[in-house]
C-alpha cells in the first residue's frame, strides 16, 4: 500500500516538475524544477531498493549538476524570460503526441498482453545494496568503471579549460569576437 501511494505521489510530482522544466519561460524556474524532479526520481530508486543509486542521484544531480548549471547561469541573463521563437507548432505538437503515444504503447504493451511476471529477486540476506553494488562494480564492471572515472576526469579538465582560458581574453576582446563570429 505504501509502495503504491509512494509510487503515484512521486510519479505525479516528477511529471509535474519535468512539465515545468519543459514549459516554463523562466530559466531559473526551470532549473529549480529540474532539481526537484531529480530528487523525486531518487525516490523511485529508494523504492526499488537501489539505495546507493538514489544517493548518488541526489548527490550528483541535485548537488554537482545543479551547481554547475547555477554557475553556468551566472553568465547568462536569467531574470529575463527566455524568448523562444517556436515555428511550425502543429508539427511540433503532432510529433510530441505521436511519440508519447507510441512510447507509452510500447512500454505498456505487457499490461494488456502477456504480462511479464516480475521475478522478485532473492537478494542475498545480510548484504546491503551498497555492498552488492560495490562487489559488482569492482569485479564485473571494473574496466567500465575505470573508464568512467577517466572520462569524468577528462570532462572536468576540458570543462575548466574551455571556460577559464577564454575568460581573461574575453573581457578585453569582446568586440573582436563578435566580428570573428560573423566571419565564421
Amino acid at each position: 500500500m505504501f509502495e503504491v501511494i509512494a509510487f503515484y505521489t512521486f510519479s505525479i510530482l516528477t511529471i509535474l516538475m519535468f512539465g515545468i522544466v519543459v514549459l516554463s519561460k523562466n530559466a531559473l524556474y526551470a532549473m529549480s524544477a529540474l532539481a526537484g524532479g531529480m530528487i523525486f526520481i531518487s525516490g523511485f530508486f529508494f523504492l526499488l531498493g537501489a539505495e546507493f543509486l538514489g544517493v548518488v542521484q541526489i548527490v550528483v544531480y541535485s548537488g554537482a549538476v545543479m551547481a554547475l548549471y547555477a554557475f553556468g547561469m551566472m553568465f547568462f541573463d536569467t531574470t529575463r524570460d527566455v524568448k523562444e521563437n517556436i515555428q511550425y507548432k502543429k508539427i511540433l505538437y503532432t510529433l510530441s503526441v505521436l511519440s508519447a503515444v507510441l512510447i507509452v504503447i510500447i512500454m505498456s504493451a505487457p499490461l494488456f498482453s502477456a504480462n511479464i511476471e516480475a521475478i522478485y529477486p532473492s537478494m542475498v540476506e545480510g548484504v546491503g545494496n551498497t555492498q552488492m553494488v560495490g562487489l559488482v562494480l569492482f569485479t564485473k564492471y571494473l574496466i567500465p568503471f575505470e573508464l568512467a572515472a577517466v572520462m569524468l576526469l577528462v570532462a572536468m579538465i576540458s570543462g575548466i579549460l574551455l571556460v577559464s582560458k577564454r575568460m581573461e581574453m574575453n573581457l578585453t576582446e569582446e568586440d573582436n569576437y563578435e566580428e570573428k563570429g560573423e566571419i565564421i
Binding site: 511550425y88 508539427i91 511540433l92 510529433l95 505521436l98 511519440s99 507510441l102 512510447i103 504503447i105 510500447i106
Partner: protein
C-alpha cells in the same frame, strides 16, 4: 603431282604478296611481267594436272589442319578432280590473258603495282575456291574472291561511284554468304563433316526435308556470287572497276562460282529435283530479265554485264535440271568468249578515252580492225551461231530444258537466245559500224598495243573451237558428275537446234538491218517499256529507297531516339533520381539544430511504429 598442285595453287599468291610490297611505289613494268609469269606457271601446272586427271586419277592432298573444335575438324585439303581441274584451267587461262592484257591496259595508272597484287590475290582465292576438298575451304575462296572483287571494283577509290559499287558488291555477297553459312551449319550438324566425299556419301541417308533446306541455303549462297535475281544489281554497278577486272571477275570466274557450287554439290541437288526446278526457273527468268535490260542500255560495259547475267541464268537452268556437265561446259565456253568481249570493250574504252556510251561511238571499225574482229567473233559465239563455242553449249541447255518437259523454260530460253543475238549485234553495230558519231564529239580513237591484241588471240581461238571438244568434255567430266540422259528424239533435237539457230540469226539480222539504217527513232525512248528497261525495272531505285534509306534513317532513329533517349536516359534517370533525392534531402540539413532534432524525433517515431506494427516472422 602434288607439287604441281601446290604450284598451281600458290604461284598466284606468291606473286601477289611480293607485288604487294611494291604497292606504293611508282609503276614497275616488271611487276606486271612477274605476276603474269607466275599465273602462267600456274596455268601450265593446271594443264599438267588436267593431263594427269585425264588418266582417271585424282590428286587429293591435305596441307594441314585448320579448325578443330568439338567434333568438327576442317583441314586445308585440296582435291584435283575432273570438275576442279576444268575450273583451274579455265581460271588460270583467262587470268593469264587478263594479266598480260592488263600490262597494256593499266599502263598509265599510278597504282599499277597495286592492281597486279589484287589481281593475283584474286586468282589465288579463286583457285582455293575450286580446289578445296571441303565446304569451308570453298567458303574461304568464296569470301576471298569477294574481298578481291571489293578491292578491284573500288580500285579507283577516289571515284565515289567506284567505292560505292565495291561496297555494294561486298554487302550483297555477304547477304548470300549468310545463306551459305547456314547451309554449312546444317550439313555439319547432320553429317558431322564438311568434306565433300563424306557429305556426298552420306547425304542420301538424310531426311529429304533436311536435304531440301541444305539445297536452298547453298543456292542462296550461289545466288549472291552469281548475281541472280534479286541480288543481281551489284554486277552491273561493278563495272566501275577497271575493265580487265570486269573480264576476269565479272565474266569468267567469280560470278561463275555459284554455278560451280551447284555443280559441285550436284549429288545433293539430284536428290531434290524440286529445288532444282526452282533454280532452273529462276535461271530462265534471269536469262530473259537480264537480256531485256541489255536491249536498251547505252553503256558499253553494262550491256556486256547484263549479258553475263543472262548467260549465268542459262547455266543455272542446266545445273538446276541436273545437267551439270552442260552447265560446266557452258561456264567454260562462256568464260572464253565473254572475257574476250570484255577485253575488246576495254580496248574500245581506251580508244575512246574512257567514254562508255555506245551512241557516241560508231564506225570504229576503220580505226581498230583487230579489236572489231575479235569482238565480233565473241559476239557471234555469244549469240550461239554454229560453229562457235556458244552454239554447242547453249543449244545443249535448250535441249535439256525441252528434254525435261519444261517447255515454258525452254520457251523463255528461246526468247532469251533471240534477245542475246540482238543486243550483241546492236552493240557491235553501234560501236564499230554505222555513222562515225565519235568524230563529231572530237574523239581520236587508236588501236591498242600489238601485244595486247596478241594476248587476246588464244581466247578468240578458244571461242571458236572450244565447242568441238564437247564430246571429250562430256566423257571427262561425267566420270565424276552425274550424267544427264537425253531421252529426246534425234529429229526433235535437230528441229530444236534449227529453231534456236534461226531465232539467233534472225536476231542478228534484225540488229544489223535496223542499225545499218541508223537504229530506232528517238521516239522509242518515250515508251513505257523502254523507261522500265533503261531504269533496270526500277530495282536499284527500289533498293535505294526501299532498303537503304529506311535502313539509314532507322539506324539514326535507333541511335538518337532509342539508344540516347530511352536506354541511356533510363540509366541517367536512375542516377539522377538518386542524385535528386540527395539534393532534396540536403534541405533537411538546414543547420538549425532545432529542426534537426525534430527530424530526429520523426525518425524515432518511424522506428517505433515499425517496432509496433512490423512483426518479423519468427
Amino acid at each position: 603431282m602434288e607439287t604441281y598442285l601446290y604450284i598451281a595453287l600458290f604461284a598466284p599468291i606468291v606473286g601477289s604478296l611480293i607485288t604487294a610490297l611494291f604497292a606504293q611505289m611508282p609503276k614497275k613494268i616488271c611487276v606486271g611481267i612477274f605476276t603474269s609469269t607466275l599465273i602462267f606457271i600456274s596455268f601450265i601446272s593446271s594443264m599438267i594436272l588436267l593431263n594427269y586427271v585425264d588418266e582417271d586419277q585424282i590428286v587429293h592432298v591435305k596441307l594441314m589442319d585448320w579448325i578443330s573444335a568439338g567434333n568438327l575438324s576442317i583441314p586445308f585439303g585440296f582435291v584435283v578432280d575432273q570438275v576442279s581441274v576444268i575450273m583451274m584451267v579455265t581460271v588460270t587461262l583467262v587470268s593469264t590473258v587478263v594479266h598480260i592484257y592488263s600490262i597494256g591496259y593499266m599502263d598509265h595508272d599510278e597504282s599499277f603495282n597495286r592492281f597486279f597484287s589484287w589481281l593475283s590475290a584474286f586468282v589465288f582465292s579463286m583457285m582455293i575456291l575450286v580446289m578445296s576438298d571441303n565446304f569451308v575451304g570453298l567458303f574461304i575462296g568464296w569470301e576471298g574472291v569477294g574481298l578481291c572483287s571489293w578491292g578491284l571494283i573500288g580500285f579507283w577509290y577516289k571515284k565515289h561511284s567506284a567505292s560505292w559499287a565495291a561496297n555494294e558488291a561486298f554487302i550483297m555477297n555477304r547477304i548470300a554468304d549468310l545463306g551459305m553459312l547456314m547451309g554449312l551449319f546444317l550439313i555439319y550438324w547432320n553429317i558431322g563433316s564438311l568434306q565433300y566425299d563424306i557429305v556426298f556419301a552420306q547425304i542420301v541417308n538424310l531426311d529429304i526435308n533436311v536435304v531440301t533446306w541444305i539445297g536452298i541455303f547453298l543456292f542462296i549462297g550461289a545466288m549472291g556470287k552469281s548475281a541472280q535475281f534479286p541480288l543481281h544489281t551489284w554486277l552491273a554497278d561493278a563495272m566501275e572497276g577497271p575493265t580487265p577486272v570486269s573480264a576476269l571477275i565479272h565474266a569468267a570466274t567469280m560470278v561463275t562460282a555459284g554455278v560451280y557450287l551447284i555443280v559441285r554439290a550436284g549429288e545433293i541437288y539430284t536428290l531434290i529435283p524440286d529445288v532444282g526446278l526452282f533454280i532452273a526457273s529462276l535461271g530462265a527468268f534471269v536469262a530473259v530479265f537480264a537480256a531485256s535490260m541489255a536491249l536498251v542500255n547505252r553503256d558499253l560495259k553494262r550491256i556486256i554485264a547484263y549479258s553475263t547475267l543472262s548467260q549465268l541464268g542459262y547455266m543455272f537452268v542446266a545445273a538446276g535440271l541436273g545437267a551439270y556437265w552442260i552447265a560446266l561446259f557452258h561456264l567454260m565456253t562462256h568464260a572464253f568468249f565473254k572475257s574476250l568481249l570484255f577485253l575488246g570493250a576495254g580496248n574500245v574504252m581506251h580508244a575512246m578515252d574512257d567514254e562508255l556510251d555506245i551512241k557516241k561511238m560508231g564506225g570504229l571499225y576503220s580505226a581498230m580492225k583487230p579489236t572489231a574482229i575479235l569482238m565480233s567473233i565473241a559476239s557471234v559465239a555469244l549469240a550461239g551461231i554454229y560453229p562457235l563455242a556458244g552454239f554447242f553449249s547453249k543449244d545443249k541447255i535448250l535441249e535439256v530444258a525441252f528434254n525435261n518437259g519444261s517447255y515454258f523454260l525452254w520457251f523463255a530460253l528461246f526468247i532469251g537466245a533471240g534477245m542475246t543475238a540482238f543486243y550483241s549485234f546492236r552493240l557491235v553495230m553501234l560501236v564499230f559500224f554505222g555513222e562515225k558519231v565519235h568524230k563529231k564529239l572530237g574523239f581520236n580513237p587508236h588501236e591498242a598495243k600489238p601485244f595486247v591484241i596478241y594476248a587476246l588471240t588464244p581466247l578468240a581461238l578458244l571461242a571458236i573451237v572450244a565447242g568441238f571438244f564437247e564430246q571429250s568434255f562430256h566423257e571427262f567430266t561425267t566420270q565424276l558428275l552425274v550424267n544427264y540422259e537425253f531421252t529426246l528424239d534425234h529429229s526433235i533435237a535437230l528441229i530444236l537446234i534449227f529453231a534456236t539457230s534461226a531465232v539467233a540469226i534472225s536476231g542478228i539480222a534484225f540488229a544489223v538491218y535496223k542499225y545499218k539504217r541508223g537504229g530506232f527513232s528517238e521516239k522509242i525512248e518515250e515508251w513505257g517499256v523502254y523507261k522500265l528497261l533503261i531504269n533496270q525495272y526500277y530495282i536499284p531505285k527500289l533498293y535505294k529507297d526501299g532498303i537503304m534509306k529506311p535502313f539509314t534513317s532507322f539506324s539514326k532513329f535507333l541511335w538518337l531516339n532509342i539508344d540516347n533517349m530511352i536506354v541511356d536516359k533510363t540509366v541517367d534517370m536512375i542516377a539522377g533520381a538518386i542524385y535528386g533525392t540527395g539534393e532534396k534531402a540536403r534541405k533537411m540539413q538546414s543547420g538549425n539544430l532545432s529542426s534537426m532534432l525534430r527530424w530526429m524525433v520523426a525518425g524515432i517515431i518511424i522506428l517505433l511504429a515499425l517496432a509496433i506494427f512490423y512483426r518479423p516472422m519468427v
